[in-house]
Amino acid sequence: MRKKGRTILFILIAFALFAFVIGFLLWNKPHVNVKDADAVTTDAIALYSSFMSDSAKAKSAFLDKVVEVSGVVQEVSMNQQRQQVVLLKTSVPGASVNCTMEQNRNKIKPGDRVVIKGICSGYIGGDREMGIPGDVFLIRCYPSI
């Protein structure tokens, strides 16, 4: 009887430990490794156009996915967290594929043709009345080449 009780206690402790380890690993699991992840490939003009023409289709193809976008750099700046922001030209003046870089590269400059890999967070409409078009946003970006 006593032995049986001890076995049950042992099983319970083992189960609790197992649950703790699983919980700990889940809680501390790393972010997606964008650099090495498989990506959906496209170019900046096509990516922007797809969100303009059929938002639902674009969302199912790109949203929250790792996307590799090729395009021409329109502007390079720094955000408030000192992360590089690279804007890729689209067919709409003033509208960009807006890429926040995880690794800054000093070499990128306006006019360069680049390939950037990042997670597509979607499109934010600007203010048409005020003449400010929206952007398609990519986060955690890396230059592919």
Binding site: W27, S96, I139
Partner: protein, 185 residues
Amino acid sequence: MKRGIIILLFIIFCCSYCNSYGQLYFTKNGRISFFSKTGLENISADNNQVLSVVNMETGALQFSLLNNAFFFPKAKMQEDFNENYMESDKYPKSTFKGIITDIGTINLNNDGNYHVHVKGDLTIHGVTKNITTTGDLIIKNGNISATASFKVLLTDYNIKIPTIVTDKIAKDITVTVSCNYEKKL
């Protein structure tokens, strides 16, 4: 004579067009962060892809961000935030549309830190609430930056916390806004 009138009308049109953008400032890479002190672990996240437009003539002010662009130190926190709390698939954006009520006190030609009052509609998780808060507009050499900080009560926006962690997670979060604007040409 007719030609002269057409030219005059054209000039008037151009002037009014330029003037409508004259006081307009915007950013597409503003920053909104939030912080919540909890019994389990402090929760913080940053979103550096905030679109904001401010009209310095009328005081009209707007912010818009994608909820899934918040970056958390831990992947699981980010997953829980998007899937369980914000339901980002269903409610992808958070927005604010309002007005700087004391815009008249700001002189763009005078550098300085202007403490301003803001009121408007904050939409989070599909729920819109009218809020009032204060902030600072910093004018320096014709450039404008803005900062503000306010609290958001989760229950106000129908954000449900699972009962198992209810006691461990704060009922409100502190939201911090920081934007550097550029002039719309």
